[in-house]
């Protein structure tokens, strides 16, 4: 204790400064791998594997070009016979004695990720809102058991669930389809959605609906016109959590999709160049994949705590 006026509740400036320095140092160390990913995505392949690791380098878009294209090696004579390069990627590729042979699979995989993440989020939040309202407002027999059952489905190890799902989807023709993945992610996310939304709806006073019902609204009208508008923030926060889960998921995706419905996470590690990993391209793919999550994390920061604890801790 440095003086009378300072305590655990009101720390002294010195304590604050030390705390600040340690936290900022931790934050910088923790950001280093992410900064390294973004830096690597702008390096040329030789720069990316230079020793000692290069902090200063000439930025290039080669990683991004390689991410989106498939290239073949050609002789210098052949490349000279081609017309002027069409765009920056063409130019970079030719300087490596290669020509662009077509588009890579990154964009289709990224699109699958978008479709599956948004589709499953939409369904999970829709179902979850209804169920959460049911649990919040009505006396449901065995409500606690049902809620525990809903939560426990999230506890299952994904590989263990994947074995029967794999067989079931094979029978139903849902293997490697976007619909199959949407249904699966919906089932995983709906448990989170129900628990989170029940918390949000519990916070809306019942009196609002009761007043509306006295004014002649039916229960359903009161739900749509009174409760839903009040729950918008909660629904949005829940949706972002579902979106992030579906976006990041790997285990189901790698086991149940292989081609047409494959999402980006199982695809990115398979990006290889000539003679080993093309790390700038991997870094470029990773960067593009992570940017939406960064945006969402910043949007969500006030609700993060609730989301990661299934609504158990609210602040």
């Amino acid at each position: 204790m440095s003086g009378e006026a300072y305590s655990v509740v009101t720390p002294s400036p010195a304590v604050k400064r030390i705390a600040g320095v340690v936290v900022v140092l931790y934050a910088l160390v923790t950001m280093f791998p992410l900064v390294w990913i973004v830096m690597t995505s702008f390096k040329s392949p030789p720069d990316s594997i230079r020793y000692p690791p290069a902090l200063v380098f000439t930025p290039t878009l080669e990683g991004y070009c390689n991410l989106f294209t498939v290239r073949t090696r050609q002789t210098a004579e052949f490349i000279e016979t081609l017309g002027p390069p069409a765009g920056i990627c063409d130019e970079i590729t030719r300087s490596r004695n290669m020509v662009i042979a077509g588009a890579s699979n990154y964009w289709p995989r990224f699109r699958n990720s978008v479709v599956i993440a948004f589709g499953s989020t939409f369904l999970a939040v829709g179902l979850g809102t209804l169920a959460a309202y049911g649990f919040s407002r009505f006396k449901v027999p065995l409500a606690d058991d049902l809620l525990f059952f809903i939560l426990s489905t999230r506890m299952m190890p994904p590989i263990a669930v994947a074995i029967p799902i794999y067989l079931m989807y094979r029978e139903l023709g849902l293997s490697d389809t976007a619909l199959g993945m949407i249904l699966l992610y919906t089932a995983v996310n709906v448990s989170l959605a129900v628990w989170l939304l029940k918390g949000f709806i519990d916070e809306i006073p019942r009196e609002y609906e009761e007043a509306a019902m006295i004014d002649g609204y039916s229960r359903l009208q009161a739900f749509v016109r009174v409760v839903l508008p009040q729950a918008t923030t909660g629904i949005a926060a829940t949706a972002i959590f579902c979106l992030i889960f579906a976006w990041n998921e790997y285990a189901f995706a790698v086991l149940l999709t292989s081609g047409t419905a494959q999402t980006a996470p199982p695809f990115i590690p398979t990006i290889i160049g000539e003679g080993g990993m093309d790390w700038p391209a991997v870094a470029a793919g990773t960067t593009i994949f992570l940017v939406p999550i960064l945006v969402f994390t910043i949007l969500l920061r006030r609700h993060l705590l609730r989301g990661i604890t299934f609504g158990a801790v609210r602040k």
């Binding site: 934050a27 950001m31 506890m155």
Partner: protein, 317 residues
């Protein structure tokens, strides 16, 4: 949201009168079931039905890569094999080692950070958001990139370690050395999930009312004493919650390990999920791996039960 009432009116007008009357006049009980049943049906179809199927398979010698071969009932033989198999016990031990050390490190660092952030220095909200970023990212995609960071010679990790210790960077191969590979995974997991523990601990610290500290101050309790008699006991339910969440999640750990080491070198990082994946989707011993999956279920379910009880305790405070 603004056009919703208009939409409802349109739907109401388009609905045949008797049906509309029925919908409008639905009893609360009917609405409750109408609202809850779709979720329950989906979970029964995608979670419970497959689970029951897996239980059935676990008593057979079914192989998914030979769907037309004759399926034999083998009784409890799969379970006996699982519980007697040394490799599987080894994978449980590796999982336990991983879960234990990640929890220890994440709790200590996470709680420490939360305590420092709770000193409310200028800019703490901004730096908290920065610290939280890793836990929102995809473990698979980021784990894959850590492989590059760990690269001997060219990766920044080995460069920094060799700079600090003087060991030649080519010798620092975290992921392919038997002694360091488990720790390489623990480091990445700790990097990723410490913010998670930190955030929950921070909520715990903020839930302690100031007047308790003020009362202690009046009684001239030292800062050290206040920390151990007020801060730690009152934040404990939150710490427990974080530990249980991390425990369950890391018990299931799959994606990050697959991408970092794939279970290697040898099988020193082969956690239970990877063994299960190998049995189910590489050896195609579907019956045996179903039994293994059931054993994992039971273990996680036991943990989940403890967890929900703790969760309710925290909630009821």
């Amino acid at each position: 949201m603004t056009d919703t009432p208009a939409m409802i009116e349109r739907v109401a007008r388009a609905t045949p009168a008797p049906l509309a009357r029925r919908v409008r006049g639905l009893s609360d009980r009917a609405i409750a079931w109408l609202f809850i049943s779709p979720t329950i049906i989906l979970l029964l179809a995608i979670n419970i039905f497959p689970l029951i199927w897996a239980v059935r398979l676990s008593f057979t010698n079914f192989r998914a890569n030979r769907p037309n071969a004759e399926v034999e009932w083998v009784g409890l033989r799969n379970y006996v094999r699982i519980l007697g198999d040394e490799d599987i016990w080894m994978s449980f031990q590796i999982t336990a080692h991983f879960v234990f050390w990640t929890i220890v490190l994440q709790t200590i660092i996470g709680f420490g950070l939360a305590y420092l952030i709770d000193r409310k220095f200028r800019g703490h909200a901004f730096w908290t958001t920065i610290i939280l970023i890793p836990m929102m990212l995809s473990p698979a995609v980021v784990g894959n990139f850590w492989r590059f960071i760990y690269q001997p010679q060219t990766g920044p990790f080995s460069y920094i370690v060799s700079f600090l210790t003087g060991i030649p960077p080519a010798q620092i191969d975290m992921l392919s050395t038997v002694q360091t590979a488990p720790w390489a995974i623990i480091i990445v997991d700790t990097w990723m999930w410490t913010p998670y523990v930190m955030l929950i601990c921070l909520a715990g610290l903020r839930s302690i009312p100031d007047y308790i500290y003020e009362a202690a101050e009046v009684d001239r309790a030292s800062a050290w004493r206040q920390f151990w008699s007020i801060t730690v006991p009152m934040a404990l339910p939150f710490i427990m919650l974080a530990v249980l969440f991390r425990g369950i999640e890391n018990f299931k750990m799959f994606d990050m390990v697959v991408l970092l080491t794939g279970g290697g070198p040898g099988s020193v990082t082969e956690v239970a999920s990877i063994t299960l994946k190998r049995e189910a989707f590489e050896s195609w011993r579907t019956g045996l791996s179903s039994a293994f999956a059931i054993v994992l279920f039971v273990a996680v379910f036991g943990l989940a039960n403890i967890y929900v009880k703790a969760l309710n305790r925290v909630k009821n405070r």
